[in-house]
Amino acid sequence: MFSRSLSYVVFRKELRETLRDKRVLLGVIVSPLLVTPLILGTIFFFAGKKQMQKGEAILDIGIVEQAAFPELVQQLDDNATIKTKHFDTREEAITAVEKRIVRAVLVVSETARIDFQNDQSAGLEIIFTFANETSQSAKSRLQNIIKEFDKSALAKRIQTMALPESFAKPTSLSINNIATSESTGSFVLGLFLPYLIVISAAFGGIQTAFDLCAGEKERSTMETLLVSPASRSDIVQGKLFTIFTISLIASLCAITGIVGPLAFGLDFLKDSVGNQISINLTSVLAMLLIVVPLALFTSSLLLVISSFARNQKEAQTYILPFISIILLPAMLSTIFGAETQLYTAFIPVMNISLTMKQILGDLFDPLYFAISLGSSFLYAYIVMRIATAFFQRENILFRT
């Protein structure tokens, strides 16, 4: 029994020591639970505020009338969301846009009014600069005003010609989104949450792994432990389960740090992922289950790196390949859709991320889930064996 074994004694001590490490507490618990929501909240708050300001701001618009077009220009002059300024030439107006005197310019062509009155298309041109956000907004606002103008002009033309309203609408299309606001929210959440969980599970244990092995060598406590009756396997298991536990805590805190504020009704976060977030208990349990082999896999990999390194500094230099092994498949999972081919269930890390995407997107596939879970446990077992073998080797443990 684990609880009675020396592995458990080692595990309990390592966990106790790890949880007293301020660096781990800050990185694994405090940061995802407090700092991440705070940063996200600040970003969304200011983004929302800016968006609101953008919508409320009165924008300066230039008008160049190469020939009079009072029907349209009057409408522009009367619009309360813009302030118009008239220019005589196109060049003059372009200079004004460049100098930010006005943000965009509407150029009315010489034949615009005649064409309009003859039921033709009136020639108009918008001048703006893409390199300026306000100028882009001014362009959009102008487009919307002209769209409204077009709409009312078209209605008048149809009326004059005694045509039915459907004349201008050859098809009548209605779009019906059957997704509930909850499932839309979960779908959007599925786009980034699995990636976040994978990264947290993989990187949450780094500090602990380096401290428990390379750090012990560095501080000369490893010899103290190796000379105790605990076997090398007991020591590896105890350390591995500590890193695994910390990785799991890191994942849980990452999930809580994102989903928690949404659940507690922080609107600025809610708006960014959908109207409502709903993850049922079964989904949460399935996600927890699938993250277990991933955390075991990454913990074992970290232990291999840490046992090979002479000290923590050296361990940090070996971390780059580890990051690639985890990040690449995790990033690929954002490209692959949730409805993917079965072979991807054998690709480590990516399979976990895609399984979570399926769970969140209401596309749960039991076969895919089973293969992902099984293959991930197999990979975790293989790396665990490598970690144990590393720990048996004197030339690795006593590298100086």
């Binding site: 080692v10 020591e17 105790s228 009756p229 030339n395």
Partner: protein, 249 residues
Amino acid sequence: MIIAENLTKTFRDRKRGLVRAVNNLSLTCHPGQIFGLLGANGAGKTTTLRMLGTLLEPTHGNATIAGYDIRKNPEEVRRSIGFLSGSTALYGRLTAREMIQYFGQLNNLRGTDLSTRVDELIESLKIGEFENGRCDKLSTGQKQRVSIARSIVHRPPVMIFDEPTSGLDVMTSQTIMAFIEQCRIDNLTVVFSTHIMSEVERLCDRVAIVHHGVIAAEGSVDELRQLTGEAVMENAFLKIVHEMKDPNV
């Protein structure tokens, strides 16, 4: 009791090729006796003690400690020894009490047996005043007392000391020396490695001079002095090692 027969350890070194760190080293140490391994840095003392402590596996040869074979019963061997070296450190984020408790648990002490033994050590080694202080906040002397407690929490019949006073000041060294002497009084079997002559003269009942991984000479301090005709142990040591050729060359 410790019986080592033809212990040999070879390492492959990238620059030096195959290195024989310990070469056919044999020794016997009885209960109530302090056996000293005296040698310069790199002589093979630490490697020998690490083999006895089952940290390293011998390339050839074998040893029994308290009746247990180091190859066949490494865990029983570790249960029978207390290992203290100058380089063995404490866990900084554990308190002194937790540190002793942890090693008690690793030696299968549980419940009241464990708490009684921990209390006993805290009292006898005068750890009480800092028992709840984290090890990384303790002074060197306090750390040494905790290290001693950690090494004997399971009442081992054999003690292995690998340069235990290395890097310590005179006062702290005295605590260790007094402890080693106490081990002899308690009839423990003690193996002790050092390169400090005064420690050998004060503590050791028998001394083996180790040079280039082999025992160059063995006997009591007096016997070694007589053998070399030198009155001072340091001179005796130098004479013996200078007369020896490096078997690795």
